[in-house]
Every structure is written in structure tokens, then in C-alpha cells.
């Protein structure tokens, strides 16, 4: 309705806006047409030559050419958004450690770029020059009115007949043609579903393996600096006690007590490390009881509702990802929300397992940068899972975690 009232009420304004869009459309069309010819043709020729010469070493030149084609395609993506509001996401796959040629030629987007470059020569030329032509005829039409007054030449009638409709059409048709060119480019240059899926998978795989690597390093460091060092100390104390047991029994007893202390400390460290890798209750009882144990240890009352039966356990990696995600969400509740109570619910919804962590605290929670919930989201993404946060300022907050259970 707003649009209508603008056209009816602010008719003059709308017309002025339309009219002032005519000249830019003509100029933009000219740019599109020129680019389609002057950039498109040389790039196509270069691509054909280098790809054709690949068997005899043309492969060296392929990447720079492909990159130049991508440059042109990206220019088109930017222009489409800026001039016509047509957003086109770049579709390219991450390199992910592959060889350059394999990466570039194995990406379907490369070939769609080339197809667009080729077809854009006629299409871009036609769509690009039309707004300029229309505007030109409009100028002719305007000139025809004084022209008719000066002479009875039939040309002026002709100009008037073509020019006036062009003058009326140009403000509408010009921008529409530019937009049409962008929409058409989007058909070839936007990510396809499959491409997008591969992209997402590649990225999540990289991230998950990075996270796993970081985790491994942390565990290695903890073992090395903690339990291993302490066990070495145990051995040392025992050896010294063995040495002294006859000549100085009191000293030997003191050393033995020291060894016992070290071994107790080593075990305590191993316990907390094991808890961080896989909580024993989760290993022994599954998600429901592990969450109950988690809630038990919480200083605020946490209600746990789970409709998963111990018998129907999720695959272990998903179970732990969910558990650690819920634990992270609950830790955030305790740290930031100021809530006096919280609730954890786990249930099946169609073919997914959904966990909701609710609290009545102050709200305003976000998925932060690289740590915490963002890390959980990455871990869940590996299974096509997701994490969403609904947390208006003033609360309540619900963090929802999902993983497919098929």
C-alpha cells in the first residue's frame, strides 16, 4: 500500500526519481556492454588457449587466466548488488589443501563463470546498449518539437513518433534492463545448492579437524606437565626410599609417604582430564544421567527432562557433542545470566534430537567469537547439527542444540 500512495500522492517526486535514474542507467548500460566485449572476449580466448594447450604445458598459465575470469565475475557480482540490489554470493570452493589446478578446474563454479563470460557477450551487449538507445531516441524526440516548428521535413515527424514513446519508456525500461542483466548473471554466478553444500562441508570439516587438533595438543600438554611429571617424581621417591631403607628407615618412610602423595595428585589430575575428554557418567549411563549428574553439581536448581531412553543411545560422537554443548550453555547460565533456576530438556523431533537449555536470567546472550558456544556450534555442524540462541534483553534465554539422529 505504501508504494501505491507514493505513486499517487508523491507522483511528481516519483517521476523526478524515475527521470533522474535514466541517465545513470544509460551510462551503466554502456559500461556493461563495453566490459562484456573488451574483457569477455580476450578472457575467453585466453581461457580456450591455455586449457587447450594444457597437454603441452599450458597448465602453468591456467590459474592466472581463471583468476582473471573470477575477477570479472566478481566485478559483475559487485555491480549487480550496487546498481540493482541483486545480491550474488561468491560460489567458489575453499582450496582446502588441494593442488591449484585441481582446485580451480574441479570447482563447477569455474565452468559456470566461463559460460557466463561467453553468453554475456551478446546478452550484456544487447541489454547494455538498449537503455542508451532509448535515452538517445528520447533526446531525438525532444529535439523534434522545435525541429518541427522550423521545418516541415518528414524526419522530424519520424523522430517524434519514435522519440516520445522512448522518452516515456526510458525512465522505466532503462533501470529495468540493467536489473535484468544482473538477474540473468545471478542465474549463472550464484552458488548452486550442491556447490554451497560442498563449501559448507569443506569449511566445517577443516574447522572440526582444527578444533580436534587443538584439543589433542591441550591433552598432550596436560599429561606431559601433570601426570607424567608426577609419576616421574613417584619413581624418584621410591628409588630413594629403596636406597635408604636399611640405613635410615625414618627417612625412607618419609619418602614413601611423599611418593604416595605424588601418586594421589597424579590420579586427581588424570581424573579431571578424563572428565574433560569423556565424563564417566556419560560413558557409563548415556546422556540423560550425565545431564542429571551435571544438574546435580550445579549451585542453582536445574530441572532435567529427557525423553531419551538409556536403551536408545545416540552415536557416541553426537552424544558427547550434545553433552559438552549443553554443559557449555549451562556454564554460561551460571556465569552470566544471574538466573535463580534453569531447565534442560532433551527430546526427539522427527529425525533429530533437540536439547533446550532455558534460564530465566537477564538475557542478552550471544554466540561469541571463537570460544564457548561458537566452538559448540562448529562441533555440531560436523553432524549437520545446529545451535541457536534466543535471548532478548531482560530474558528469558533459550539455547537450542540439534543433531540428526539418523
Amino acid at each position: 500500500m505504501a508504494g501505491l500512495s507514493q505513486v499517487v500522492g508523491g507522483g511528481a517526486d516519483a517521476w523526478r526519481e524515475r527521470a533522474s535514474a535514466t541517465a545513470p542507467a544509460a551510462g551503466r548500460g554502456l559500461v556493461l556492454a563495453l566490459v562484456s566485449l573488451l574483457a569477455g572476449i580476450p578472457l575467453l580466448v585466453a581461457a580456450a588457449l591455455t586449457l587447450g594447450l594444457m597437454p603441452i604445458g599450458g597448465g602453468v598459465l591456467v590459474p592466472p587466466v581463471i583468476r582473471a575470469v573470477r575477477g570479472l565475475a566478481n566485478w559483475q557480482r559487485g555491480i549487480g548488488a550496487r546498481w540493482s540490489g541483486v545480491e550474488i554470493e561468491p560460489p567458489y570452493l575453499p582450496r582446502a589443501g588441494r593442488g591449484r589446478l585441481r582446485w580451480l578446474l574441479g570447482d563447477p563454479a569455474t565452468w559456470r563463470d566461463l559460460l557466463w563470460t561467453a553468453t554475456n557477450i551478446p546478452v550484456g551487449l544487447a541489454l547494455g546498449l538498449l537503455p542508451l538507445t532509448l535515452a538517445g531516441w528520447g533526446v531525438v524526440g525532444l529535439c523534434s518539437i522545435p525541429g518541427l516548428a522550423l521545418s516541415a521535413d518528414v524526419f522530424w515527424w519520424f523522430g517524434l513518433a519514435f522519440g516520445l514513446p522512448a522518452l516515456v519508456l526510458a525512465p522505466f525500461v532503462g533501470p529495468a534492463l540493467i536489473r535484468a542483466q544482473a538477474l540473468w548473471a545471478r542465474r549463472l554466478l550464484a552458488p548452486t545448492d550442491v556447490g554451497e553444500r560442498i563449501s559448507t562441508l569443506t569449511v566445517t570439516r577443516e574447522r572440526v579437524s582444527d578444533d580436534a587438533e587443538a584439543e589433542m595438543r591441550r591433552i598432550e600438554r596436560d599429561l606431559h606437565d601433570g601426570a607424567q611429571a608426577r609419576m616421574a617424581a613417584v619413581g624418584l621417591s621410591l628409588g630413594m626410599a629403596e636406597d635408604l631403607i636399611r640405613e635410615n628407615p625414618d627417612e625412607a618412610i618419609a619418602l614413601l609417604a611423599e611418593a604416595r602423595e605424588h601418586s594421589g595428585a597424579a590420579l586427581a589430575e588424570l581424573r579431571s582430564l578424563v572428565r574433560g575428554i569423556l565424563p564417566p557418567v556419560l560413558a557409563e549411563r548415556g546422556l540423560g544421567d550425565a545431564l542429571r549428574a551435571l544438574a546435580y553439581a550445579s549451585p542453582i536448581p536445574v530441572e532435567v527432562r529427557s525423553d531419551l531412553y538409556p536403551t536408545q543411545r545416540l552415536p557416541a560422537p553426537r552424544e558427547s557433542a550434545l553433552y559438552f554443548g549443553i554443559a557449555e550453555a549451562l556454564a554460561n547460565v551460571l556465569k552470566h545470566s544471574g538466573a535463580a533456576r534453569a531447565r534442560i530438556e532433551v527430546f526427539r523431533r522427527e529425525d533429530r534430537v533437540v536439547a533446550e537449555v532455558w534460564d530465566e536470567g537477564s538475557g542478552g546472550a550471544e554466540v561469541d567469537g571463537g570460544q564457548g558456544l561458537a566452538g559448540v556450534r562448529r562441533r555440531l555442524a560436523a553432524f549437520d547439527g545446529s545451535l541457536t540462541v534466543d535471548s532478548p534483553v531482560g530474558g528469558p534465554t533459550t539455547v537450542t542444540l540439534e543433531v540428526p539422529c539418523e
Binding site: 604416595r260 594421589g264 590420579l267 564417566p280 549411563r285 544421567d289 549428574a293 546435580y296 549451585p299
Partner: protein
Amino acid sequence: MRVVLAEDQALLRDGLVRLLTAHGFEVVAAVETGPDLVQALLAERPDVAVADIRLPPTYRNEGLAAALEARRRLPGLPVLILSQHVEPLYARELLSDSAGAIGYLLKDRVSNVRSFLEAVRTVAGGGTTMDPEVVAKMLARRSRDERLGALTPREREVLAAMAEGHANAGIAARLVITEKAVSNHINTIFAKLGLLPDLDGNRRVLAVLAFLDTA
């Protein structure tokens, strides 16, 4: 005193057999799996069972399940559960029948021979002994409870020692105070927590644990 032992790791099993035998216990059966444990308990009816919580075939909580099953058939059968980690959730299940004669300790505690043997004897005698770590976790979660907040630091120490299953003499020795001071503290604690004052021995421990456990 006749003992049935369940521990799947040979190193620890042999060590425990040696330790118990050296101190005058008679190990009548040393088994490795949950089903074997149930069978040995029902066949031998020992004075006390000492069982690891995680046993083959599932390596989940076979030991706990076996102990609970045996106690269902032989109410009050004394069981001491050993584990690499302690969970209030499991402590609650062990205590659920309120019959006492239950112990739940970290495996590390075995290295302190004297107190480990004392725990075995306590359980065999119908008492209850909880690992300090379980008690600490229970205390921590009740930290917001007003009644607990009303306790002095010294009273909290006495309460923790009581929950672990120590008798008045043991608490007195541990805190280096007289037994009379201990019983005074305990009366004050019971008044503050709203527990019945005339409980003694094992029922007192169970009452304290029940208080710490209720959400």
C-alpha cells in the same frame, strides 16, 4: 572376616588380595565380571563385598548394578564400591534403600592402607562411609541453602567428617578437639539443620547425607 572382591584389572586385584590377606581378611572369591560378582555374593554371602564400579562385559557400571541387585536379594549386604571417579548420582542410588552398610570410595584411597581397612571394617559393621570428594560435592551444591549457611566453618568441618562416616572419636582426632566438643558441635548442627537430635551412629550419617542430597 570373609570378603568377596571384584576387580577386572589383575594388577589391582592381586594387590588388593595381598593387602586384605596381610591384614587378616579372608578373600573367599576374587571375580572379574558383573554377573560373576552377583553369583559370588549370593553363593558366599560374605561379611563384606569390595567391588570396582566398572567391570566387563559392558565396562559401564556393572559393579554398581551387581551390588544393588545382590542387596535387593540380601538386604543390608555390606558393599564397598571403589571407583576412579565419584558421582553423587551413584552415591544416591547406593544409599536409596537406607539400609546402610555402604561404602563409596575413590580407588586412590587404597594407598592409605590404614584408613582403607578402617572403611572396609566400618561397612562390614553396618556403617556408611562416603568419599570426602562426594561429600565435598554435596556440600558445594547445597552452599546456597540457608540452613547450611548458618553453620560456622568449624561446624561445617564436623558435618563433612560425619557425612564421610567417621564416629565421634575419629572426628575428634581429625580436628584435634575433645569428643565432648564434637558432640556439642553435632547437637548444634542438628538443631540448625532441623534433624532429629537423638540419631546415633549409622543412622546419623544417613540423615546427614539425605539432608545434603535433597534438592
